[in-house]
């Protein structure tokens, strides 16, 4: 079975418009959560991790009419996908055969909301139906494959906040079983009224920037953005002289089948995902050097997640660095799994432990949550988990390129 290499990365987050900006923000311990200014919201929360408008980039390869109708989430996706393929050194010929797997949850929802708002506010006399073309979730994959010339297998996953972690798993599977030698995994989502008002109505949003694992944590901070990873048969990557940034050692997905929003109280599904991913990777728990947590900052998630980590890593958990990238880029929903996978690759590559920001009083003082300063440490194996509403659990096991696996 081919080993799965990661040869390209792309990211558009509140820390900046590309991977170097994300890496710098992670290393500097910057928090991208600030005032919500994209749209008016009359509720409890006033914060979000907003992303500045990305440069046109590969969107220029699209027909002008198509480019004009792109949603913000499409533009995030194009920027991240373009950066990933560029950094992997993919030629048009290599891209032609590549697979594309996308995770997303709201598509062009924000633009659709604008259509209805304008009509309702009588700013426009009729519904502008062309502005609804970005609504279907599959639009992201359509515009990305058109702009990059990807003609291989293609699918879109929507499993709430684990969508793009699942897309990475699908891309890894396609490379492993030989359906594609190169597969682009992508996550994208934008802030919109629906998700913002929905999470606020659930009282799931912290009124302060989210504080994962803190005793005073009150919920998550919503973010937006996109991230992309080029997965490739490692032998193929070596043969063409590509730089291998990291390896996908294993992945697993399980289901809670328990509740529409709450995680299973025992974390049974999340536990099975972590155990199965390690087994698929052939990695014993004691070989894991870093856990990039789902760490949403809600009362329930963090408690369940710590219990899951404790069940797998036992007493060693005291010496296992754990952090939540959501404390820096917010919860990017459909993009979260991919953003955090990219952050984990950066951690492996640079020997960097990204911090958990805003954490003042850990609820579990025996754990090593990596303080706001971040830290340097050589890492060989890391796990990153994503848990979606409705009980969609995904864990990925990633390894440093030269970890010898």
């Amino acid at each position: 079975m081919p080993a799965v290499a990661i040869t390209g990365l792309g990211a558009v987050t509140a820390l900046g418009g590309d991977v170097p900006a994300l890496a710098a923000g992670l290393a500097e311990g910057r928090c991208g959560i600030g005032p919500l200014t994209l749209f008016a919201h009359a509720g409890r929360s006033t914060l979000a991790a907003q992303v500045p408008e990305p440069a046109a980039g590969i969107a220029r390869a699209l027909p002008r009419a198509t480019a004009r109708r792109l949603s913000r989430a499409d533009r995030f996706a194009l920027a991240a996908a373009g950066e990933a393929c560029r950094s992997a050194g993919l030629t048009p010929e290599l891209q032609r055969a590549a697979a594309l797997y996308v995770g997303a949850t709201t598509g062009g929802m924000r633009e659709s909301e604008e259509v209805y708002r304008r009509r309702r506010a009588a700013e426009e006399r009729r519904f502008r139906l062309s502005r609804l073309l970005g609504t279907p979730l599959a639009t992201h994959a359509a515009v990305v494959s058109q702009a990059l010339g990807l003609f291989g297998p293609r699918a879109t996953f929507s499993t709430a906040c684990s969508s793009s972690a699942l897309a990475i798993g699908a891309a890894a599977a396609a490379v492993r079983d030989g359906r594609a030698r190169i597969a682009l995994a992508l996550g994208t989502d934008q802030l919109c009224r629906l998700t913002y008002a929905g999470f606020d109505a659930l009282q799931a949003l912290d009124v302060e920037p989210c504080r994962p694992f803190d005793r005073e944590r009150r919920g998550l901070s919503l973010g937006e953005g996109a991230a992309a990873l080029v997965l490739e048969d490692a032998a193929h990557a070596r043969a063409r002289g590509a730089r291998i940034r990291a390896l996908v050692l294993g992945d697993a997905t399980t289901t809670d089948a328990h509740h529409v929003t709450a995680p299973h109280p025992d974390g049974a599904g999340a536990l099975r995902a972590l155990v199965a991913a390690l087994a698929a990777a052939g990695v014993p728990p004691e070989a894991v050097d870093y856990a990039n947590a789902h760490g949403s900052g809600t009362r329930q998630n963090d408690a369940v997640e710590v219990a899951v980590l404790r069940a797998v890593f036992g007493r060693r958990l005291a010496r296992l660095p754990v952090s939540s990238t959501k404390s820096q880029v917010g919860h990017c929903l459909g993009a979260a799994g991919a953003v955090e996978a990219v952050a984990t690759v950066i951690a492996l590559e640079q020997g960097l432990l990204p911090p958990t920001m805003n954490l003042r009083t850990p609820e579990w003082p025996d754990l090593d949550f990596v303080s706001s300063a971040g830290r340097r440490a050589p890492l060989a194996v890391a796990v990153t988990s994503s848990y979606g509403f409705g009980g969609h659990n995904v864990t990925l096991v990633l390894g440093r390129a030269e970890s010898g696996r």
Binding site: P63, R64, A65, T66, A67, R68, R69, R125, R126, R128, L129, S130, L133
Partner: protein
């Protein structure tokens, strides 16, 4: 409404009605509306027909008339002027 006023309104309709990537002032009188000219596609065509019919109270009964009327800005102005004086 005279010809130059109709032409200005047509350009404004194109630029803001379709939210083109350029201002009305940059739309040329004789550049093709579809294809390479303004980069409009078939979805824009549908919206433009409705916008023109609503704004100028004219009817575009079929594709042949549409194809002729929407060739260029000048052609569209000609069509609107002739329909309105009818």
């Amino acid at each position: 409404m005279d010809r130059s006023a109709v032409r200005a309104e047509v350009k404004e309709l194109l630029a803001t009605g379709l939210r083109l990537d350029r201002p009305a002032s940059e739309i040329l009188d004789d550049s093709p509306i579809f294809g390479e000219g303004l980069g409009l596609d078939s979805i824009d065509a549908l919206e433009l027909v409705v916008l023109v019919e609503e704004r100028f109270r004219v009817a575009i009964p079929d594709e042949d008339v549409g194809r002729r009327a929407f060739a260029t800005v000048n052609a569209l102005v000609d069509f609107i002027m002739s329909e309105r004086t009818r």
